[in-house]
């Protein structure tokens, strides 16, 4: 049986993601992070609670909105910021930017912005894990929009057919860019219901309730690790800022302001705080620690060298392995 949700740690993990995202948002308008950035502010509970119970050897994959997953899985902060700043020391050596995070040491394999693009790759990693008789699992995060892509179906079908150790985690924030669910997906069914198409266990939970996410993921991970094949999880959550970029976008009018306010009131961090987790003193300590870490990380990232334009042709073809 899995342990109960370690709420103080989850609080810390969420708060850290929030503070890092806020720091990026604050500095983004300076125009030195010259790549599209998709913030996960408001959605921190899912990365924290899912990645919080993964081993280093477990492999995580994500999409365009990947900062939280990368950080919660233990991805190196300086390397991530350096990547956003287009530095040679970036986790992808500046070639990828915010949408191509990677930290193999932490088991964060790859994020990529083409919707659903990393889903089959995660399944392939699970397939080869079974060949190696490894116990590591693949976890892939994606949005509600990504489930509309054919590659999602092909991946679910194969993972179920071969009973592969993959956890499919959908962060349903009800929008794909500015498009609501209506018209994009059938009414009257949850994304989790798609599990039935593949005889795949699936569950649904409030993605802003970190304890609920933890429990739901714990059960699913136990199944997946136990060799019972893949699971699909759907967590309902909400993005606070604009689809891409550091600002709110309430002025666009595609989301009712009551809706936005309602979800802001359901802040996953505030929720724990209201329950007294982790306590004021601890929170102050965390804030101080993260502030120092973040400042140092920005300084290190910004001090790092730019890639040399003469290396433009590097990494196109590897040398022989």
């Amino acid at each position: 049986m899995s342990r109960a949700a370690p709420l103080p740690e989850l609080f810390a993990s969420m708060l850290r993601i929030r503070r890092i995202e806020e720091a990026i948002a604050r500095r983004y308008p300076e125009g030195e992070m010259r790549c599209p950035v998709h913030f996960c502010i408001g959605q921190e509970a899912v990365p924290a609670a899912v990645c919080g119970q993964l081993a280093r050897a477990d492999r995580v994959f994500s999409g365009h909105r990947s900062h939280g997953h990368y950080l919660a899985k233990g991805g190196d902060l300086v390397a991530m910021l350096a990547e956003l700043y287009g530095r040679e020391t970036g986790c992808a050596r500046g070639r990828g930017g915010s949408q191509h995070l990677i930290d193999l040491d932490a088991g964060f394999v790859a994020s990529a912005p083409i919707l659903a693009g990393t889903i089959p790759i995660a399944v392939g990693a699970a397939l080869s894990a079974t060949w190696r008789r490894s116990r590591s699992v693949s976890v892939v995060f994606f949005g509600d929009g990504a489930t509309e892509e054919g590659a999602f179906h092909e991946s679910m079908n194969f993972a179920a057919a071969r009973r592969l150790p993959v956890l499919f985690v959908c962060e349903n924030n009800a929008y794909s860019v500015h498009s609501p669910m209506a018209g994009r997906q059938p009414a009257g069914r949850r994304i989790a219901d798609m599990g039935k198409a593949y005889a795949m266990p699936a569950a649904h939970a409030d993605g802003n309730d970190v304890a609920a996410v933890w429990r739901t993921a714990a059960e699913a991970l136990a199944r997946v690790r136990g060799g019972d094949g893949p699971c699909l999880l759907e967590f309902e959550t909400y993005r606070w800022l604009e689809h891409c970029g550091p600002n709110p976008d309430d002025a666009l009018g595609y989301r009712a302001s009551e809706e936005v306010d309602g979800w802001r009131a359901r802040c996953p961090i505030e929720r724990l705080r209201r329950e007294g987790v982790p306590g004021e003193a601890q929170e102050r300590a965390l804030e101080a620690k993260f502030a120092a870490e973040i400042e140092a990380a920005f300084a290190a990232a910004r001090a790092a060298p730019m890639p040399d334009p003469r290396d433009l042709g590097a990494f196109v073809h590897p040398g022989r392995g």
Binding site: R34, Q99, V177, H178, R184, L252, G253, P307, P309
Partner: protein
């Protein structure tokens, strides 16, 4: 002169074509949304209704088939991809079905669909958001392919594409959207398959596509100060390719530089250069030269991207070599408006 931006010209072309023909409809994720595909579709849903200006799920492959199915009832869909890279997910329907639709049923069906594919260059669009794959579509029999470089042609080629009964791929370059120019108010066509002498000259021809026409015009401007007269041919269409305008220009100048927005290798420039070598061989005084992307994926960091994307200066250097001009005589390149050259003009602001 009726000044409109490239984006406004597209908007006007869409609105007028939809007003003219009730069978014209638009589909794509975000098409009716509040930002309206960089402003090119704003307000059209309100004006023409949600049925004709359709939001779509992120299902690029099937969306293409939906458009094709709708042609059976006479509809003429305009399908929009915010990035060329997303159309890559639709290649089966585009290439195996749409392009061959008329042919493989012996002429009994037609696929009058327009695909608006937007090239997303700059501001770290990176490897998966800034490809320029026009050569692919041009290689597939059945498509017509056009690449507007001016506001006037953005509207005119779009209207021609919508009225054409073949599937037409329009490649729109993001860096042109803010460009302003004369756009007639009437509903006019820029015929597919006809190139345009964007600037006459007698010393060398630069045959360019899309945004590279702008860079070629800059190069021509700057070389004019040295008394060198460059003819800039805006190819406008790849399929049909206007071989005669190209070859006649080369016959006049004797020199050819091809400047395309995509990868040089196996790219659109290869067809243009090969065509000139075949059809204007006797007129070529020197070997043709191709300008475009090196055979690397598109990097995100501006320090790399600035070196990756060709500019006027690259065209100037190629011309200098062709015309035996001492490169030291070339004017110095203008400094970037900021630290980097990854945005088209100073008024542009991120994220994108």
């Amino acid at each position: 002169m009726r000044a409109r931006t490239f984006a406004q010209a597209i908007h006007e072309g869409l609105a007028q074509a939809m007003a003219e023909d009730p069978r014209v409809c638009l589909m794509g994720p975000g098409v009716p949304g509040p930002t309206g595909i960089f402003g090119t579709t704003t307000g059209l849903a309100e004006r023409f209704g949600a049925e004709r200006v359709m939001d779509m799920p992120s299902s690029e492959q099937a969306m293409t088939g939906f458009a094709l199915g709708a042609t059976l009832d006479g509809y003429r869909p305009v399908v929009v991809h915010m990035r060329v890279d997303f159309a890559v997910l639709a290649m089966d329907q585009m290439v195996n079905q749409v392009a061959k639709w008329h042919f493989m049923y012996g002429g009994r069906l037609r696929a009058p669909i327009v695909f608006r594919l937007i090239v997303g260059r700059g501001w770290g669009q990176g490897p998966q958001h800034s490809q320029s794959l026009q050569a692919w579509f041009a290689h597939v029999p059945g498509f017509k392919v056009a690449m507007p470089a001016s506001p006037r042609d953005a509207k005119g080629l779009l209207v021609a594409a919508i009225r054409d009964d073949s599937p037409v791929v329009l490649v729109e370059h993001r860096w042109l959207y803010g460009l302003s120019g004369d756009v007639p108010e009437t509903l006019y066509e820029t015929p597919l398959g006809v190139a345009r002498i964007a600037r006459p000259g007698r010393h060398a021809t630069v045959a360019a596509t899309s945004y590279m026409v702008i860079e070629a015009l800059r190069a021509a401007d700057r070389l004019a100060a040295l008394g060198i007269e460059i003819e800039v041919v805006d190819m406008r269409s790849l399929v049909p390719l206007d071989v005669s305008t190209l070859c006649e220009s080369v016959a006049r100048t004797g020199h050819l530089v091809v400047a395309d927005t995509g990868s040089v290798a196996f790219g659109a420039g290869a067809e243009i250069a090969a065509t000139a070598a075949e059809r204007a061989f006797a007129h070529l005084r020197r070997a043709p030269v191709r300008i475009g992307l090196p055979h690397y994926p598109s990097p995100t960091a501006p320090a790399l991207a600035d070196a990756y994307f060709p500019r006027a200066v690259d065209i100037e250097r190629a011309l200098a070599t062709l015309l035996d001009v001492d490169p030291a005589r070339l004017p110095a390149e203008d400094p970037p408006h900021g630290r980097w050259r990854d945005t088209p003009d100073p008024s542009f602001r991120g994220p994108y």
